[in-house]
C-alpha cells in the first residue's frame, strides 16, 4: 500500500479512505480524529469525534455540550480499530491533552504529529517518539532563525521588568488554551506568589487545568471593583492578546504589553504589534527540535503540513530524506 492511499490531503483536511475518517478536519465531517483542542484543529459540528479525554473536555468547554454528535475518548497508547484501520494516540507535548495520532494498516505506519514540542512543559505530558514509516510534521517555526530560548529566562525578563517598572501593569498576552496556563505555571515556578489577574476568556480553561492537577496559584478576575478604586498597579494580568487593543485594557495603569509567543523571536514582529516586552515562549518545536525529531525517528518519508514547509523540505532533501509539503490550509496557529 502506498502511503498516499492510506492518508492524503483533501479540502476538508487529511483523509483516510480506508478508515473513513479525517484528522483535524477544517469543516464538519462524519468522523473526525482530533489531535488537540486549539480551535484551528478542533472544530465543532462533526458527527463523531475520537480524541483524548482532555481534548474532548476542552472542546466541550469551548463549544458547549453539543459540540459533536458522538464522542469517543482514546487513552494514550491504547489502540482503537476504525473500519479495519488501527489508530492510537500518543502525547505530543503541545498543550494539555494534545496527541500525535498513529495510523496503521497492512504494516504501513503513519504518524500525524499535530502540533508538538520537545521542551519541558509542566502543564502537559511530554512528547513521545513513535516509530513510523511516514512522519507528518508541522513546521510553524520551520526556519533556521527560530531558536526558542529557555522559558525560565523569558519569565525572568518579566519579573525584572516588574522591578524596573513597579507602577506599570504588566499585561501578558497569551493564547487562552495552553500558553496562558503554561505562562502562569512558569511564573509560579519562578517563585512569584502574588495574585495573577486573568481576562474572563481564560477563566474556564484555567479552572479545567486546575481540575486536572495543574496548580496555577491565586488567580483573580481582572475586573474593576469600583469601590476599591483599583488600577492594577504593578500587577501581572494575563489575557488573550486581542483584548489588549480593546477598551478593556484601559482600566490598567500605564500598561506595559508583553506577549508570550514563539513569534517574538523576530524583533520586527514585536515592534509591529506594539509589544514592549517580547517573551519567546512557544508551544511548538523550534528549528533544532524539528530537525532532532526527524533524525531521531528516522522515518522513510516526511510530510510537512502547516507553517514554513519549504525550508524544512529543503533541509530533508539535503539530508537525503524523502519529503514533501502537503499544503494544508486552515490552520492559523492559534496556539502560538
Amino acid at each position: 500500500m502506498k502511503p498516499e492511499a492510506l492518508l492524503h490531503p483533501t479540502p476538508a483536511g487529511l483523509f483516510c479512505p480506508a478508515g473513513g475518517f479525517y484528522v483535524d478536519p477544517v469543516r464538519p465531517v462524519e468522523r473526525a480524529l482530533i489531535t488537540h483542542g486549539h480551535s484551528d484543529h478542533a472544530r465543532s459540528g462533526h458527527a463523531r469525534v475520537l480524541a483524548t479525554r482532555q481534548t474532548l473536555d476542552i472542546m466541550r468547554i469551548r463549544y458547549g455540550e453539543d459540540f459533536c454528535g458522538e464522542e469517543q475518548a482514546a487513552a494514550f497508547g491504547e489502540t482503537v480499530e476504525v473500519n479495519g484501520v488501527t489508530v492510537s494516540f500518543h502525547p505530543a507535548g503541545h498543550v494539555l491533552g494534545s496527541a500525535q495520532i498513529r495510523i496503521v494498516k497492512d504494516g504501513l505506519r503513519i504518524v500525524v504529529s499535530g502540533d508538538y514540542k520537545r521542551g519541558i512543559d509542566p502543564t502537559c505530558a511530554p512528547f513521545e517518539p513513535v516509530a513510523c514509516d511516514v512522519f507528518i510534521t508541522e513546521a510553524t517555526f520551520g526556519l533556521p532563525v527560530f531558536h526558542h530560548p529557555k522559558p525560565q529566562a523569558e519569565i525572568g525578563k518579566l519579573l525584572t521588568s516588574l522591578k524596573q517598572f513597579p507602577e506599570r501593569t504588566h499585561l501578558v498576552g497569551a493564547y487562552a488554551l495552553g500558553k496562558a496556563q503554561r505562562v502562569i505555571r512558569l511564573i509560579r515556578d519562578a517563585g512569584y506568589d502574588r495574585p495573577v489577574y486573568i481576562h474572563g476568556a481564560l477563566a474556564k480553561l484555567c479552572d479545567y487545568y486546575e481540575g486536572q492537577g495543574i496548580a496555577l496559584g491565586d488567580l483573580r478576575a481582572a475586573t474593576i471593583d469600583k469601590k476599591a478604586d483599583q488600577d492594577f498597579r504593578g500587577a501581572i494580568v494575563v489575557g488573550p492578546p486581542s483584548a489588549f487593543q480593546d477598551r478593556w485594557a484601559r482600566r490598567f495603569n500605564e500598561p506595559l504589553i508583553a506577549f508570550a509567543s514563539g513569534w517574538m523571536m523576530v524583533r520586527q514582529r514585536a515592534k509591529q504589534g506594539g509589544v514592549e516586552l517580547p517573551l519567546v515562549i512557544s508551544d511548538h518545536c523550534d528549528w533544532p527540535e524539528l530537525l532532532d525529531t526527524i533524525k531521531e525517528l528516522s522515518p522513510g518519508e516526511v510530510w510537512v503540513t502547516h507553517g514554513r514547509e519549504e525550508a524544512l523540505v529543503r533541509w530533508c532533501e539535503l539530508q537525503g530524506i524523502a519529503a514533501k509539503p502537503l499544503h494544508l490550509v486552515g490552520y492559523e496557529d492559534e496556539g502560538d
Binding site: 533556521p144 532563525v145 506594539g274 514592549e276 516586552l277 529543503r314
Partner: protein, 547 residues
C-alpha cells in the same frame, strides 16, 4: 555582553522617554566598569569599534548554513544582522554558559586589537560564544548600524538621574560640558557621578558648553516688558550649533552636544578664530556673499550624515549665522551682557571668512506691535519668527524665563479628513491615536478624491482622543495589521484642523508634499469632509514659501 544586549532589546521596543531613562539608569547602576562605559559610548555614538563588512558576515554564516535556507531566513527577517544572530548555530545552545560569555569590554578590546587577517576567525569565534541577543548587539555594533532611538542627550539625562539616585546629583549641563573632554570607558565620569571622586579634569580643549535656550512668547508676556530693554533678531530656520575652537582643535556641536564636526568640514575648516560661538547652521550663501539663504529642506540634505561628499558640499554649502559668543579666545565672556558679547562677536565675524560666517542682524523696533508685524511678514521665507533678547542679560545655560524669548510666525493651518488610524504605544496602546489625514484633489478619472498628506499623533486632549478613538472604532472600513481605514467621503467623515510649521515638496509621498511638525489643533466636528482643503491650497503654500 548580556546586560548590554538585554538593554538594547528593551530600548528598541520601549517608546516612552521615561521608560528608556529607567532602563538606562538601571543599566548604568548594575553594570560594572568598564562595560557600562563602553555601553554608554555605543549609545552616545562615541564608541570606536573596528568595523566588519556585511559581505564577511554573509560568508561566515554560509560556512555552516545552506544558502537556500539562509535566503529563506533572510527574506523572513529582513535585517542581515538579525538574521545572522538568529540562524547562527554551533554556539549558544551547545556551549555558552553565562560566566564564560565575553563581556562588552572584552569584545571591544579584542576587536580593536585585531590585525587585518585575524578578523574572520575572531568574528566567528565571538559569534560562537555569544547568545542570540548578544550576537545581535555585537553585529549591530560591528556593522555600525545601531539605531535604537536613544540620543546622546537622552543617555546624559539618564546619567544625571543615575547620579541623583546615588546621592550625588549632577546637572545634565555639567555632564554636557565635560562630555567631549572624556573618552570611553568614562571611568572618571562614573566615579564622579557616583560621588566617589571629584569632577574630572579635562585635558582636551574645544569642549561643548551647554547652550542658553529661549521660551516661547505666550499671551501677556510682552505687555509687562519694556521694549527698550530688549534687542530682536530674526529667527532663521536652520539648526542651532556651537563652534568651539581652541589651539587648533576645531569642533562643531549640535545644541544637545552631539559632535557633528565630520559632517561639516566646509564650515569647520573655515574657522580661523579661537573661542566658542553660538549660531544657526544654514545652507546657501551668507549675507555678505549676497546670495540667498536656502530652506530647511535643503539643509536636511546635509543632516544626520557621518561624512559628506564633495558634491554635497558644492550643492549644499553650509555656513553659520553667528549670534552669540561664550568664549573670546580663552576668555569666558558668558558673564558679560548680551550687547558686550555681541560687540566682541562682531569683531570676530568681521575677520572670519565671508562665505562661511556672518552676523545675525538686529531687527530695529520701537514697540511690540511693530515687532509683531515684522514677525508675521518677515522679509525672507527662511525666517520663522523673531528672537527677543534682553540687552543686559548674561549667557546662562538652560531655559530661563525672562532673558530670551522666541516669537514664531503663526503656524499654517488646514482642514483635512481622517483617512487611517493606528494604535499608539504604552499608555495609548488601546487607543487609535496616530492619524493619517488627507485633502481633496482631482483623480485620474476626473472625480475628486482624498489623497493622504500627513500623519499626526499629538495636539489633542485626552477627551478629544476619546472622541477620535470612538469614531475610528465605529467607522472602520478596512484593517491592515495595526492600521484601520475609516469611512471618509464628501458627506461623511471626520474633519481635523491640522497645524504645521512648514511645508515642502516631497518625492517620497504620493501627494508630493511633506509637512513639518503637523499636529491636530482642533476637531472640526462642525464641518463636513466636502468643506476640507484641497491639495492645490497646500501647493500654493509651498510656492509662497519659496518666494
Amino acid at each position: 555582553m548580556k546586560p548590554f544586549a538585554t538593554l538594547l532589546d528593551r530600548l528598541v521596543l520601549t517608546p516612552s522617554r521615561n521608560g528608556k531613562i529607567t532602563l538606562l539608569v538601571d543599566y548604568f547602576r548594575t553594570t560594572p566598569d568598564p562595560d557600562r562605559g563602553y555601553g554608554l559610548a555605543a549609545l552616545a555614538g562615541t564608541l570606536d569599534l573596528k568595523g566588519v563588512k556585511p559581505a564577511l558576515l554573509r560568508e561566515l554564516v554560509l560556512e555552516r548554513l545552506d544558502p537556500v535556507l539562509f535566503q529563506y531566513s533572510y527574506d523572513y527577517v529582513g535585517d542581515l544582522a538579525e538574521t545572522i544572530a538568529l540562524v547562527w548555530s554551533g554556539g549558544e545552545k551547545e556551549t555558552v554558559n553565562e560566566e564564560a560569555e565575553p563581556r562588552l569590554s572584552d569584545v571591544v578590546t579584542r576587536m580593536n586589537a585585531l590585525g587585518r587577517t585575524e578578523t574572520r576567525a575572531a568574528v566567528r569565534d565571538l559569534l560562537d560564544r555569544l547568545d542570540p541577543s548578544a550576537r545581535f548587539a555585537f553585529l549591530k555594533l560591528a556593522t555600525g548600524a545601531l539605531r535604537i532611538g536613544v540620543s546622546a542627550r537622552l543617555a546624559k539625562q539618564a546619567l544625571s538621574e543615575m547620579s541623583a539616585e546615588c546621592g550625588a546629583p549632577r546637572d545634565i549641563t555639567e555632564i554636557e560640558t565635560l562630555w567631549h573632554g572624556l573618552t570611553p570607558p568614562y571611568l572618571s565620569l562614573f566615579e564622579w557621578l557616583e560621588g566617589r571622586a571629584d569632577r574630572p579634569v579635562l585635558a582636551t580643549p574645544a569642549i561643548f558648553h551647554s547652550v542658553m535656550l529661549a521660551n516661547p512668547v505666550e499671551d501677556g508676556d510682552l505687555e509687562k516688558l519694556d521694549p527698550a530693554d530688549y534687542a530682536a533678531e530674526w529667527k532663521w530656520d536652520g539648526i542651532r550649533v556651537q563652534m568651539s575652537s581652541h589651539g587648533g582643535t576645531k569642533k562643531l556641536y549640535s545644541r544637545s552636544g552631539d559632535d557633528i564636526t565630520n559632517a561639516f568640514p566646509d564650515v569647520v575648516d573655515a574657522i580661523d578664530f579661537d573661542g566658542v560661538v553660538d549660531g544657526e547652521l544654514l545652507v546657501g550663501g551668507t549675507m555678505r556673499s549676497n546670495s540667498p539663504t536656502r530652506t530647511f529642506s535643503d539643509l536636511q540634505q546635509r543632516l544626520n550624515r557621518k561624512t559628506v561628499t564633495p558634491k554635497m558640499i558644492a550643492d549644499y554649502p553650509a555656513f553659520v549665522r553667528a549670534y552669540d559668543l561664550l568664549f573670546d579666545g580663552g576668555e569666558d565672556v558668558r558673564g558679560k551682557t548680551f550687547l558686550e558679547r555681541r560687540a566682541r562677536l562682531a569683531q570676530i565675524i568681521d575677520h572670519a571668512p565671508h562665505d562661511r560666517f556672518d552676523l545675525s542682524d538686529l531687527v530695529p523696533f520701537h514697540d511690540w506691535p511693530t515687532l509683531d508685524r515684522l514677525r508675521i511678514a518677515p522679509p525672507d521665507p527662511v525666517i520663522e519668527g523673531v528672537m527677543i533678547k534682553k540687552k543686559d542679560s548674561v549667557y546662562q545655560a538652560g531655559r530661563l524665563k525672562g532673558p530670551w524669548f522666541k516669537w514664531k510666525r503663526d503656524p499654517y493651518n488646514i482642514d483635512a479628513v481622517m483617512l487611517y488610524a493606528q494604535r499608539g504605544h504604552g499608555k495609548r496602546s488601546s487607543y487609535y491615536s496616530d492619524f493619517t489625514f488627507g485633502v481633496w484633489t482631482m483623480g485620474d478619472d476626473g472625480a475628486d478624491q482624498l489623497v493622504p498628506v500627513g500623519k499626526a499623533y499629538f495636539g489633542f486632549t485626552d477627551q478629544e482622543l476619546e472622541v477620535l478613538d470612538k469614531f475610528v472604532r465605529d467607522n472602520t472600513v478596512d484593517r491592515y495589521g495595526p492600521v484601520r481605514a475609516v469611512r471618509a467621503g464628501p458627506d461623511f467623515g471626520f474633519v481635523l484642523e491640522v497645524a504645521f510649521e512648514g511645508i515642502n515638496r516631497s518625492t517620497r509621498h504620493k501627494s508630493g508634499v511633506a509637512m513639518r511638525f503637523p499636529r491636530i489643533s482642533r476637531l472640526r466636528t462642525d464641518k463636513l469632509p466636502r468643506d476640507a482643503d484641497r491639495l492645490e491650497t497646500l501647493l500654493a503654500m509651498i510656492d509662497a514659501g519659496d518666494g
